[in-house]
Each structure stands twice: as structure tokens, then as C-alpha cells.
């Protein structure tokens, strides 16, 4: 009896280890960005509806300091590069929506925002750090994944975005690769 229960316990341990498999890997550049549909302050937001635009997808949370730092830059990028085809989309990952609302009241977002309190999208995008941003081309394919946000990152990110916008203009808006 003891042996069989021990075996059951071991089987449980093995099952636990299997269940601990990490979240899905981040989509590689060139792979199709997983589509999602979420609620936002201005209605439903669906990623695939943004096809044809260069999408800067940013996963953020109210408790994350670098996310707060990135907001003014994302507002600025949307204002300057929006007319050229850029759409910034911030997906909030707060478990409590009140925290997100408070953050947005203090730090206004002048770009599209969506809420994912369950954390389903970051799992599918293999988010490893906060914030994580994904640059998605007009064909819905991933161009770049970036984890974290430091003021030094601005120049590099902006160069990649402008480069993609230039390529979009050259291909008539079909692709940025």
C-alpha cells in the first residue's frame, strides 16, 4: 500500500513537472503575430483589423516603472509617425482593472489601449519581461521583439520603426521586410 501510494506520489511529481512547461516561445521575426481580440476603453480591439499598418504592440502594467517611462515616448511616436502608418497598441496586463484606470488617468495614452487582465496574450507572445514590445508589419508578421525599456532604447527602436515605415512606403504598404 505504501509502495503504491509512493508510486502515485512520484507520478504526481512527474505530472507537476510536465505541467510546469514554460509559456509559449516568443514568435520569431518573420512569424505570423498571434491574433487577439480584447476590450479597450474605446471598444473592442482586434489585432488583425490593424493589418496594413505598422503595429507597435506594447505589453505594459501599472506597477512597472519602465512602462511608465515608455508612455511619453509612445505618445510622441504615435503623434509623429502615426500619419505615416504607425499604430501603437498598448495591451495592459493588470489583474485589477482599477490599477490600470488609475495609471491611465495619471499617464494619458494617446494611442490604442486594450485590457487583458487574464494574461492570455502575453502567454501567446512568450513575454519574458515587462514591458515587452513587438513590432508587427502590415502583413501581420513579426519584425522585432524587444524586452524592457530604457531611455537609451528609444533611438534604436525609433530607427527600426522608421526603417520599417520606409520599406512600407517603398512596397506600397504591403510589406516592411
Amino acid at each position: 500500500m505504501a509502495v503504491s501510494s509512493l508510486r502515485a506520489g512520484l507520478a504526481g511529481v512527474v505530472a507537476n513537472l510536465a505541467a510546469q512547461a514554460p509559456a509559449l516561445a516568443a514568435p520569431e521575426p518573420g512569424a505570423a503575430a498571434p491574433d487577439f481580440e480584447l476590450d479597450g476603453p474605446a471598444g473592442r480591439v482586434q489585432l488583425s483589423k490593424l493589418q496594413g499598418k505598422l503595429v507597435y504592440l506594447d505589453f505594459w502594467a501599472s506597477w512597472c516603472g519602465p512602462c511608465r517611462q515608455s508612455f511619453p515616448w509612445m505618445n510622441d511616436a504615435q503623434a509623429r509617425l502615426g500619419p505615416r502608418g504607425l499604430q501603437v497598441l498598448g495591451v495592459n496586463l493588470d489583474a485589477r482593472s482599477a490599477d490600470a484606470d488609475k495609471f491611465l488617468a495619471e499617464t494619458p495614452a494617446r494611442f490604442q489601449v486594450a485590457f487583458d487582465p487574464k494574461g492570455d496574450t502575453p502567454k501567446r507572445y512568450g513575454v519574458k519581461g515587462m514591458p515587452t514590445s513587438v513590432l508587427i508589419g502590415p502583413d501581420g508578421r513579426v519584425l522585432l521583439t524587444h524586452s524592457g525599456f530604457r531611455p537609451d532604447d528609444k533611438a534604436e527602436l525609433e530607427a527600426r520603426i522608421t526603417d520599417a515605415l520606409n520599406r512600407m512606403a517603398a512596397t506600397g504598404g504591403r510589406s516592411a521586410t
Binding site: 502575453p122 502567454k123 513575454v127
Partner: protein, 81 residues
Amino acid sequence: MRLITTFTRPATAAAALAALLVLPGCANLASPQAWEKGDLARPAMRMDGDPLEGRFSQHIFASKEAAAGGAGVGGGGCGCN
């Protein structure tokens, strides 16, 4: 002695064994994902509390008790501090 007699009772021994077998279940508590760390990021979760207050108490220790260090990761142990 009392402990040993307690654990020789079959029912208690079985319960203890069952508790031991259940314990590995705790291994299932997966570490939080990057986006699930909202509660861990709260100021109350800091190990060292308020940094300003920490510096203040270090000053008190140094000036009144002639004690220095021991509040964090130490140096190389060269004895030169």
C-alpha cells in the same frame, strides 16, 4: 519518547506519511510570469523597507554604536573598511 509513541500509532503514522506524500504538490507552485508580478512589485514587498529610513538607521549605528556594514552585501573581506 512521547513523540516516538505518537508516531507508532498506525493511524498517525499513515497520516504523517500521507502528509509527506502530499508535500511534493507544493513543487507545482510555478513561479509567477513576468506580467503576474504586480503584487510583488508593491513597496511593502521590499526586503529592506524604506531606503531613506535604512540609511538613517545605518547612520545611527555608525555614529552611536561605532558599527558599520552588515546591512547588505559586504565587500571583499580585506579588512580595509
